[in-house]
């Protein structure tokens, strides 16, 4: 039953071929369609659908900050193993920065949680080994406030100056990440691995006086950016 629900959910989310098949033969019985979906996804193995749950934490965020980076982030994730092939994942984190640019004398400060949901796909699912290479997709979101202040702005033409000090500016961001990574067993249920991520902003809420410079969970607020995680993974014993 669980397997059927998962198959139908995945087919609805990724329904390119199945959708066209359904429109051509709308009066087909349900069971043959499921078979075609299973065939299309190559789900012919007879292993149990649910293969376990893992909790994951990232070491790059705190490590980068300890080495002198402007941004601090820490995160934890919960990942479900389905068929040793699909890994739906929820990531929850916390990011902050309190940085001063020595050239422009600007100060930027923010602290906020962030969330990501997505799926990892084990590209070596047929090998049945505890270590594997995966590709994944994430959608991330955060809502945050930030403070910006700096030296007064001096009018070069008309003369005079205005202060530059803004607090509690509200912002939010939605982004997507494409990633590749590896996992390797290090001891019993403990695994380690890394992921390399390419991040793209989808929507960022700007304020009249500032655009966010650092977005928790995303990083420096370019339209695209790269990120990496070094994951410590614990597979919760199951069965």
């Amino acid at each position: 039953m669980l397997r059927s629900i998962i198959l139908l959910t995945i087919s609805l989310l990724l329904a390119v071929a199945p959708a066209s098949a359904q429109t051509r033969k709308t009066r087909q019985p349900v069971e043959p369609q499921r078979s075609r979906i299973a065939e299309w996804l190559d789900l012919t193995d007879s292993i149990p659908t649910f293969q376990g749950v893992s909790v994951i934490t990232d070491l790059v965020g705190p490590g980068w900050y300890a080495l002198g980076g402007d941004f601090f982030s820490t995160e934890a994730a919960l990942e479900v193993n389905l068929l040793n092939r699909f890994f739906p994942i929820v990531e929850v984190g916390y990011g902050r920065t309190d940085a001063i640019n020595e050239d422009t004398d600007l100060h930027y400060k923010t602290t906020a949680p962030y969330f990501r949901v997505g799926l990892n796909y084990n590209v070596q699912y047929k090998k049945k080994s505890p270590g594997y290479i995966y590709a994944g997709l994430r959608v991330g979101y955060t809502s945050f406030t930030y403070d910006v202040d700096g030296p007064p702005m001096i009018d070069p033409v008309w003369g005079g100056e205005v202060p530059f000090h803004f607090t509690d500016i509200k912002g939010s961001a939605l982004w997507t990440e494409l990633l590749v990574g590896v996992r390797a067993q290090i001891y019993k249920n403990f695994h380690m691995g890394w992921s390399f991520r390419y991040k793209v902003r989808l929507n960022v809420k700007d304020a009249p006086n500032a655009s966010p410079w650092y977005i928790p969970g995303f990083g420096a607020s370019d339209n695209t950016t790269f990120g990496a995680t070094y994951d410590l993974v614990y597979r919760i014993p199951w069965k």
């Binding site: 299309w40 009018d155 008309w158 003369g159 100056e161 989808l202 607020s221 339209n223």
Partner: protein
């Protein structure tokens, strides 16, 4: 499996396309200029036949120190305390300084002028000749803007209204009220053109 990877790539590619291709590098100009174009009654671009000088009254003042005694008058641009000690009477002449933004430009089809950081109404004197001039008034809201830590701050403006005298100008109109450091036409001046 390959089909699934293709679908994932397709979905992600669509998301990337939705994000657009906007660049976030620092812009070359860190100052915002109000861009004004000159047109005739039909909206066609016109070149001014006379030279154009644009000047403003700055937010800075020039102080002249005038010291008078019964027999003598001393005028100075800086204070002279010794004259007061000698019994001279001090009076001050404070004049608002004028700045020239554009000096006798020939064949102007438009101008790019800076707005004030502190004032919400700027007055521009458009002088075409010794006897002919117009005055243009620009009302605006000032928006100090943080673009990034590396790029610094820049003043943006939102123009709320424009008006003018009508010696050579027929009318003025706001085209785009947002004045930023990416130059776009903000105001159109319609000139009365004699055939």
């Amino acid at each position: 499996m390959r089909r699934l990877l293709k679908v994932i790539m397709l979905v992600w590619g669509l998301c990337v396309c939705m994000a657009g291709c906007e660049s976030s590098d620092c812009l070359l100009s860190s100052e915002s200029y109000c861009s004004i174009s000159f047109v005739d009654g039909q909206g066609k671009s016109v070149k001014l036949l006379d030279t154009l000088t644009v000047s403003v009254n700055l937010n800075e003042y020039d102080t002249t120190y005038i010291y008078r005694s019964a027999t003598d008058t001393v005028v100075s641009q800086s204070p002279i305390d010794s004259l007061v000690a000698k019994g001279y009477e001090l009076s001050l002449l404070v004049e608002q300084m004028q700045g020239v933004l554009l000096n006798r430009k020939s064949g102007a089809e438009g101008v790019e002028i800076p707005l004030s950081f502190t004032s919400e109404r700027d007055t521009f004197f458009f002088r075409y000749s010794a006897r002919l001039a117009d005055t243009v008034y620009v009302d605006h809201v000032n928006l100090p803007y943080f673009s990034s830590m590396d790029c610094g701050t820049v003043m943006h403006y939102r123009i709320t209204s424009v008006s003018s005298t009508h010696h050579l100008i027929d009318s003025v109109r706001i085209v785009n009220p947002e004045v930023t450091n990416t130059l776009k036409e903000n105001v159109t001046i319609y000139y009365t053109v004699n055939n």
